[in-house]
Subunit: 92 residues, 2 copies
């Protein structure tokens, strides 16, 4: 069975990429956007969005900037929240 979107929420985060990915998933699912919708709005491939949310790809500042525009939040806010997640060590 396919994993529901956001099912990785409780996995621990081990680095800033994973923490950012968890934050991106949370912002997206709160808005009830699919990964496809985020991909279309930000101009990236859905598979790339998936890798970013899992933390298996490290986004460049340029990508962060484009994603932040798509979700109307400053990059610094997303990163600050990701740092908080990383300190707590949890995706929640």
């Amino acid at each position: 069975m396919a994993k529901p979107i956001g099912a990785d929420k409780k996995r621990t985060v081990r680095n800033l990429d994973e923490a950012f990915g968890a934050e991106l998933t949370e912002v997206r699912t709160r808005r009830r956007w699919s990964q496809q919708q985020l991909a279309e709005t930000s101009g990236y491939d859905e598979s790339y969005i998936r890798q970013l949310e899992r933390g298996t790809k490290s986004a460049t500042l340029r990508t962060l900037s484009n994603l932040a525009s798509a979700i109307s939040l400053p990059v610094s806010v997303l990163i600050k929240r990701a740092e908080t997640r990383l300190r707590k060590g949890s995706r929640e």
Copy 2:
């Protein structure tokens, strides 16, 4: 004649990469570190540091994280300052 380090200070910043680069230059020069010292401390090539400071390369979150560790500042603080620079449109 060679341009002194930090000589680009007054150039305008057009995107977050350039704004981050300007911020990195400022933090580094305030500490009286050369680009070589920052390179050695962060584990990157000096030429890469130079490209980041000029904003011609877009750092990944992983790189930002390593640079932030090297200069003992959170990534979110550096990005927030870069966003402020970008809003003002100036490297100063």
